[in-house]
């Protein structure tokens, strides 16, 4: 049994045009204390305000008016990165492959085992949480990065590419000491504890120069 800790908020968004399915899923998720919100159609979902905490989408791949894959595409294009769990009553195998390739968390045929659904949803929620956390971390980093001077940024980029101070000094036409000073400053600003940290941050910030 997956027990959700109450330490962070989470919600499952269910979109299905069949009321029985909506009700059944609601019951299922509530039975493990998951919060649920149901929608009749994709349009209804889009009209509502999406939560800004861990959430996932449980979606029937054949919704009236719009196909699930298209919707997946629409969301992606809109920059909405909520993880999707697809379900279907039709046994659409080729569709399932496409969906998975497009990044769905899982694709469950109806009727599904409750455990499978719950696992998928849990995974999706975890994924979303991690993403959000990751996004938060990333934005924090960016924040910090913003505080770097131009020189410091340059140095960071070069340092994390593996260049030695000497090489960096040469590159930037400054003294090695300057480089070291910059490095010390940026290490502090970035709150990096080690070079490895810095490299990681640079990776995250995508400022690492690739050779």
């Amino acid at each position: 049994m997956v027990a959700m800790e109450g330490k962070s908020e989470h919600i499952v968004l269910v979109v299905d045009d069949d009321e029985s399915v909506r009700v059944a899923l609601t019951n299922l998720f509530r039975s493990i204390n998951l919060k649920v919100e149901v929608f009749n159609s994709a349009a209804e979902l889009l009209q509502s305000k999406l939560p800004d905490f861990a959430s996932c989408l449980v979606l029937d791949i054949r919704l009236p008016g719009v196909s699930g894959l298209e919707f997946q595409d629409t969301l992606a294009k809109a920059g909405i990165r909520i993880p999707i769990v697809f379900m279907t009553g039709h046994g659409d195998i080729p569709m399932s492959v496409k969906a998975m390739k497009a990044g769905a968390v899982d694709f469950l045929p109806k009727p599904f085992r409750d455990q499978d659904m719950l696992d998928a949803v849990t995974r999706a929620l975890d994924q979303d949480r991690r993403r959000r956390d990751g996004d938060k971390a990333a934005s924090q980093l960016r924040h910090l990065f913003e505080t770097l001077t131009r020189r410091e940024r340059e140095v960071m980029s070069l340092v994390t590419s593996g260049l030695m101070n000497k090489q960096i000094a040469h590159e930037l036409q400054v003294s090695e000491i300057t480089v070291k000073i910059h490095r010390g400053h940026l290490m502090r600003k970035m709150e990096a504890r080690s070079l490895a940290d810095l490299v990681r941050m640079a990776e995250l910030l995508r400022i690492r120069r690739q050779d």
Partner: protein, 797 residues
């Protein structure tokens, strides 16, 4: 009180009285002495007085005096001093005298009283005598009265009778419908009875002359003349004259006058009786007139007889001609004189070939006394023979003997010619009829003719042979030749055809002679006369048993095919159906699992559990419903027509196909008329048709990408009251050349399509008595398929 009569007393009585007087005195003395001796009572004077009174009362004055004397003595003896002696003291003399006076006074009183009494008695007696006399008188008077009354009564009676008799006499005189007059010896009228007075209106004073005042002036002279004669001869005489009635009208009267003679034979009065002969006169006049009319009529009749264009003649009882009319004479050219009497022989008048026959018939007729009726050629004056119908009828007298023969001859030459022509054409007709009958009996159909009321009055031989009935049996029992199940419907339809007057037909099973029933198609046409009225119904009936069997087989094949088509169709939408079932199933499983998890909580919320369970039940039913519907579609039963709400069926199909439509991006619109009348149809089959038409629409929309894929299903009601369903798509439409072939079996525009869907749909709808057609879409692209379904229950055989 024994009162002796004042005079004439019997001697014994006298003695008695004096005896009493003495006795009384003695007794009194005795008593006085006794009282004195035994009881010491002093003698009383009163007693002595009483004795005197007593004797006076009883015996009268004389004895009383005696007694008085005795008493005086007694008084003296007993009461006066010296007592017990008759001596009298001087001092006692007053007493003595007093006593004596008193006694005498008593006697005197008594005597007076007696005298009064006696005179009263006498008076009474006298009165009684008087009374008795009066009574006797009274009685006598009463008797006399009674007699007198009787006499009076008798007198009254006889007077009454007399009056009655007089009254009756008067009544007779005044009632007898005759005017009665009395004339004096000189003839002047001195009495007229009531009738006369009433009739004339005149009172007696106006009747003063000999001839009554009311006589018509023209008649007076005659009457006066007769009077003159009568007064001389004294003989009774009669007259007729007109007399005026009170209202002024004159009426004829006859008067008879008779004289009344006294004992010497002199005429002292004339009595006249006048009676109304007006009616007789009128009758006489009428008779005269009638006779004149009769003569006139006779003349008229003779004229008629001579004028009518018919030969008339009469014969005597022995057969000789006694009269011939003018027509006869003109035709034959012989005069009456020649013909009558023992005139020319009848053979002269007739055609030689007919003479023998005629004379035989005439002889027979005369012998039997029966009417002769014969056609014979009679010779005209110019020698030409023409056919005549001769009729001779006898007239009999009261005894029954024939007195005369009356003959009439009518020219029938033209008629005869016509008869011959008719006979010829009749022969032709009979031949034609024979040929016709031969034809009728040879053709391989049952031919019949019926009257307006529907019963057959002719059946051709094949009809009689097939049913095994005779025409008589058929006329009355023809409905029984039909199958019992078809009989009622057939009668209803036959009546409707006859009522409509239009040619019509029906199908029914007819019983063969061996009992087997076969289907026949009956066609009837009416025959009308010149006025356009139907006189007869003609019909022919054809054996369609084989066709019916084939139809039945075809129907079965169609049903099987429809079923197969349904199954195929179901296969096509099986994915949809599977999905439809899957949804509730998945929900059930999920709900069940949720319930299990709810229950594993430390304090399970039973409301959650309950909610989930309720949904499980609901979804279970939903899944079950879908299965049932599918099963219904899969069943291969025959048509079961029930009242159907078409909108319901459309809704079911829409629900069933929703996924399918969504998958194809087809937008379904429903325009369902509210309050549609129920259609009489089989639910499964109508579902099949709507599904088929809808899927056809979906298929037609497959290729459409540039405009919305729209599908419209509309239900409505047409003027005939039928339910109409239209399925309209905005798809590729039907080309003109395909439009006519669209319902043909095995015609399809779909690649790989069998092409049986629409033809099956059409046969389903037509089986229901409806129509399936495609119509032009002028507003927009695409095609419209419509079908109609009947709403009333019609009697189908």
């Amino acid at each position: 009180m024994p009162t002796p009569a004042p005079s004439g007393r019997p001697q014994s009585q006298v003695i008695l009285n004096y005896g009493i007087a003495v006795l009384a005195a003695m007794a009194t003395i005795a008593v006085e002495i006794a009282f004195n001796r035994f009881w010491g009572i002093n003698p009383s004077v009163s007693l002595l007085l009483c004795a005197i009174m007593f004797v006076a009362w009883i015996s009268g004055t004389g004895p009383a005096l005696l007694t008085t004397a005795l008493m005086v003595l007694a008084f003296d003896y007993l009461l006066l001093e010296p007592i017990y002696s008759l001596a009298l003291d001087a001092k006692e003399v007053p007493r003595f005298a007093l006593f004596a006076v008193a006694s005498l006074f008593i006697v005197w009183l008594s005597a007076v009283q007696q005298r009064t009494a006696a005179s009263l008695r006498r008076a009474r007696d006298e009165q009684q005598e008087t009374v008795k006399e009066l009574q006797v008188l009274n009685e006598t008077l009463r008797i006399e009265n009674a007699e007198r009354r009787r006499a009076e009564d008798a007198l009254r009676e006889s007077e009454a009778e007399l009056a009655k008799a007089r009254y009756e006499g008067q009544l007779i005189i005044d009632t007898v419908p005759v005017l009665i007059l009395r004339h004096r010896a000189d003839g002047v009228i001195d009495f007229v009875n009531q009738v006369g007075r009433s009739y004339s209106g005149l009172t007696a004073t106006n009747w003063t002359r000999r001839t009554s005042a009311i006589t018509h002036p023209d008649d007076i002279p005659q009457i006066e003349a007769m009077w003159d004669v009568a007064l001389v001869t004294g003989e009774p005489f009669e007259t007729e004259a007109r007399l005026r009635r009170a209202d002024g009208e004159y009426r004829w009267f006859a008067t008879r006058r008779v004289p009344l003679r006294n004992d010497d034979g002199e005429v002292i009065a004339w009595y006249a009786a006048t009676y109304d002969i007006e009616d007789r006169k009128r009758a006489e006049d009428a008779l005269r007139e009638r006779e004149a009319q009769l003569a006139e009529a006779r003349r008229e009749l003779e004229l008629t007889i001579d004028s009518i264009p018919v030969m008339v003649s009469t014969f005597d009882a022995d057969g000789t001609r006694s009269f011939v009319n003018q027509t006869w004479q003109n035709y034959t050219g012989h005069t009456g004189r020649e013909a009558t009497g023992k005139g020319l022989n009848s053979s002269v008048y007739y055609h030689p070939d007919d003479v023998r026959r005629f004379e035989n018939a005439w002889r027979v007729s005369q012998a039997k006394g029966e009417m002769l009726s014969i056609d014979v050629r009679t010779r005209r004056a110019d020698g030409v023979y023409r056919w005549y119908t001769m009729r001779r009828a006898p007239r009999r007298d009261e005894k029954g003997n024939i007195v005369k023969w009356y003959s009439v001859g009518v020219d029938v030459e033209d008629q005869k010619a016509a008869e011959n022509a008719l006979r010829r054409s009749e022969t032709q007709l009979a031949n034609a009829e024979r040929e016709l009958r031969l034809t009728l009996d040879s053709i391989p159909a049952l031919v019949w003719r019926a009257g307006l009321e529907g019963s057959p009055d002719f059946l051709n031989q094949p009809a009689l042979d097939y049913t095994g009935l005779s025409l008589d049996q058929a006329e009355t029992g023809w409905p029984r030749a039909f199958h019992p199940d078809d009989r009622k419907g057939m009668l209803v339809k036959w009546t409707a055809i006859r009522a409509s007057g239009m040619p019509g037909g029906l199908e029914a099973r007819l019983r063969r002679f061996d009992g087997e029933y076969r289907w026949f198609s009956f066609q009837a046409v009416p025959l009308r006369d010149e006025s356009g009225n139907i006189v007869k119904w003609y019909g022919s009936s054809t054996d369609i048993e084989e066709r019916k069997r084939a139809e039945s087989a075809l129907h079965d094949a169609r049903t099987a095919l429809a079923h197969a088509s349904r199954v195929t169709m179901l296969g096509e939408i099986s994915a949809t159906i599977a999905h439809e079932v899957n949804q509730p199933l998945a929900a059930i499983i999920t709900n069940g699992q949720a319930c299990l998890r709810f229950l594993r909580h430390e304090t399970p919320d039973l409301e959650d559990v309950r909610g989930a369970l309720e949904w499980i039940v609901k979804d279970g039913n939903r899944a079950s419903g879908i299965i049932q519907r599918v099963r219904g579609l899969l069943k291969n039963t025959g048509i079961q027509k029930t009242p159907l709400d078409v909108n319901d069926v459309i809704g079911e199909v829409a629900a069933l196909l929703q996924r399918e439509l969504d998958a194809q991006d087809v937008i379904l619109r429903l325009e369902l008329a509210p309050a549609l009348p129920p259609a009489i149809a089989d639910r499964v089959q109508i579902q099949q048709v709507i599904i088929n038409l809808t899927m056809n629409g979906v298929d037609a929309l497959q290729a459409i990408n540039d405009r919305p894929r729209g599908l419209l299903v509309r239900s409505s009601r047409n003027e005939a009251g039928q339910v109409v369903v239209a399925v309209k798509d905005s798809g590729v439409g039907i080309s003109l050349e395909n439009a006519s072939r669209v319902f043909d079996p095995f015609f399809s525009t779909k690649p790989g399509g069998l092409g049986i869907g629409l033809s099956i749909c059409r046969s389903i709808i037509e089986d229901h008595g409806g129509r399936l057609w495609t119509s032009d879409d002028r507003d927009g692209p695409g095609a419209t398929f419509q079908f109609s379904l009947p709403t009333q229950r019609a009697d189908v055989h």
